[in-house]
Structures are given as C-alpha cells and as structure tokens.
C-alpha cells in the first residue's frame, strides 16, 4: 500500500460571516468577504495528520479545486500537517458551476494518479450543504465508503469506521482503498498557528488544470435563483398567563 492519503479541502465563506444575497438574486455576495477552510474539511485534515503521526500512513496530500485564493486554504492544510498540496485551478464560469460531480471526478482522477490508499473528505461544505462529493468519488472509483465518520481506525488493509446515523452509531469494516467522510465528532482540529504557517511555506503546492486530469467540468445544473430564507415572524408579547393560554388555544397548539 502506498500509504498516501488524499484530503480534499474547500475554500468557503467563513462560518461566522452573515451571508448576503446579491440584489439580482443570482447568488450570494463573495467579493471582499472573509473566506476560510470548510470546518468539516479541517476535521478531515486533522484525521489524516493524526494517522500520519501514529505512523499508520506515510503522506498526506491536501487538494483544493478553485481559483488562485484556494492556495491559501491549501497553505492552512499544510500548516496543520499535510506534506504537500495540489491546487487544481478552476476559475470564472467553471468555478461558479463547480459542484460535487466535477470535484469528485477530479478527486477520482487524482486518486489514481497519486496511487492513494485513502481519501478523506469533509462530510459536506457549509456553503452548498450537498453532502455528495465523498459518495460520488467512491462510486466513480468503485471504492467502498465510510461516511459520517465519528471514528476511523486502520486495521491492516481494512478500515473500521464508526458512522453517525439517525438511529445512533453504526460500525462498519471496509477494504482499502476507500473514501471516508468526516463528521463533527471525529476529532478536534488543531489551530494553524503562525509558526506552523511559516514552516509550511517550504512545502510544495503543485499546480494543475482539470484538463490535465482529463476531467470534463460541464455542469448538469443551472442555478435559477437565490433567495434569503423567510423572515421569522415577530413574536407576540402577552400580559398574563390567561392571555398566554388563550393565544395558544387560538393557535391550536393546546
């Protein structure tokens, strides 16, 4: 086994930023807005780095698809402990149409090219909330998948994954090579401190285009409109308990 793990990291609008819809409802405002690594991708990187620290795997490769600024996200991954990065350059209209299908095609092509033993992705991105890339990548490669992982253990040439599912927890054992998607409770990602960022400057980021990997980026989806969620109705204040009971009865809740 190559001992190489590919980790996909996505540059998204920072989780703490208030999202604003463009006046023409064609999308959301991204210019000048703070971006950072998708929180679930941070968890994915942390897991890969932990596996390397336990000497269970040999190399962590961070991959990001997007414009020039995606390199900042890769730098953060390198500061967290990844060994090298791959920036797949996607810009303009292609970037606007970039979704799980295109990214999973890129990840699948890279997995073959880099002879990856494991792919770890975040379970979903906080901007589109698709929760599809991991699953699609596994399908394209015909690899087993352990999604919503809250625990990952390498056991020889198999991976034991504890999955968070609606009913509770499910433990599965899958063969490698495999795709794993990280859930919130998998681990606690380390902070990329300034000294680590400085050290990571020496690490290499390779540049390539989707065409180099033979990937077709055409999207089958078209965004028609983006709207804000409906405003919350203002609450009603009541004076007495009797009023409260009366109002609740009116609303039909009691």
């Amino acid at each position: 086994m190559s001992g190489r793990v590919l980790v996909g990291v996505k540059r998204v609008i920072d989780y703490a930023v208030k999202i604003r819809v463009k006046p023409d409802n064609s999308g959301i405002v991204t210019d000048g807005v703070k971006h950072s690594m998708n929180p679930f991708c941070e968890i994915a990187i942390e897991e890969a780095v932990k596996l390397k620290e336990k000497k269970l795997i040999k190399e962590v490769v961070a991959v990001s698809c997007g414009p020039q600024q995606s390199q900042e996200t890769i730098r953060t991954a390198l500061a967290m402990g990844a060994d090298r990065g791959i920036h797949v350059e996607v810009t303009g209209k292609d970037y606007e149409a970039l979704g799980p299908l295109q990214v999973s095609k890129i990840m699948a092509a890279l997995a073959k090219k880099e002879d990856a033993q494991l792919i770890i992705l975040g379970k979903q991105a906080i901007d589109d909330d698709c929760n599809q890339t991991g699953q699609m990548t596994a399908a394209l490669l015909d690899w087993p998948q352990g999604t919503f992982a809250s625990e990952v253990a390498l056991e020889g040439d198999k991976v034991k994954v504890v999955r968070e599912i609606d009913g509770g927890l499910e433990t599965i054992k899958i063969n490698t090579p495999a795709v794993v998607t990280a859930d919130l409770r998998l681990n606690t990602p380390r902070y990329a401190t300034l000294p680590n960022i400085m050290k990571a400057k020496k690490k290499k980021i390779a540049n390539m285009k989707p065409a180099d990997l033979g990937v077709d980026l055409t999207s089958r989806l078209e965004v028609l409109r983006v709207d804000e969620p409906p405003q919350r109705q203002a609450g009603v204040k009541v004076e007495t308990v009797e009023d409260l009971v009366g109002k609740l009865k009116e609303a039909g809740t009691i």
């Binding site: 989780y15 703490a16 929180p39 679930f40 906080i126 919130l184 606690t188 990602p189 902070y191 401190t193 300034l194 000294p195 960022i197």
Partner: protein, 124 residues
C-alpha cells in the same frame, strides 16, 4: 547592554572581541546595527517578539474584532516593557503562551457549537 565593541568590525574579528572585552567565549554575541553586542542582557527578546507576533496573528479572528484585540495586546505588552529580570520575563511569556491556548480553545468551541447547532438535532 554590556560589551559594545567598536563599530564596523569585520566578521573575522569576533574572537578578538571576546579577548578585548574580557568576556568568556561562551557568551553569545549578536550584531546590532553594525556593533557586536552581548546577548546576555535580553536573550529573551526574540521570544517576546515571537510571542507578540503569534498573539497578533491569532487576534485576527477575535470575536470583538482584530482592532480591539490589537489595542489590548499592545497595552498589555507596553505595561511590562521595563521588566528586565529574566525570571519575570519567562513567567510573562508563559502567561502569553497560556493566552494563546485559551484563544485556540475559544475559537474551536465557537466553531464547534455553531456547527452543532446548525447541523444536528438538539439532544432531548
């Protein structure tokens, strides 16, 4: 600062400086503005500057804003600028390292709680 040498000395004359200043050759000499100076007085200078830079970097994500953080960081360091006792400096640097850990924990908890609230059902 002890051990100022004559300005503009060539690098090869470092050993002469030890001899001339009558200081042990184990003392670290650094070049400050062309002069060779003993680093004994503030060997912790580098550490303090490093701590300041690290805290400043962390402050960019501070909930009340990076400008707010920067003001307080600067005044906290300025308050102690005349401390010379290495033991005291080491203690202050250790406190700074502790603040770094607290900030990292703060940032993690904020993010974790936000994600938990957005993506998971509240526990009954």
């Amino acid at each position: 600062m002890l051990g100022w040498s004559e300005g503009g000395q060539r690098r090869g004359d470092v050993s002469l400086t030890y001899h001339r200043l009558n200081i042990p050759s184990t003392t670290r000499l650094v070049r400050v503005k062309g002069h060779l100076v003993s680093d004994m007085a503030n060997p912790l200078r580098g550490e303090v500057i490093r701590l300041y830079k690290n805290l400043l970097y962390l402050g960019r994500e501070y909930p009340q804003g990076s400008a707010y953080f920067r003001e307080r960081l600067k005044s906290a360091f300025m308050k102690n600028k005349d401390v010379t006792d290495p033991e005291k400096i080491k203690k202050l640097v250790a406190r700074g390292d502790f603040v770094i850990k607290e900030l990292e924990a703060l940032y993690f908890l904020r993010k974790y709680r936000a994600m938990k609230k957005r993506y998971y059902e509240p526990e009954k």
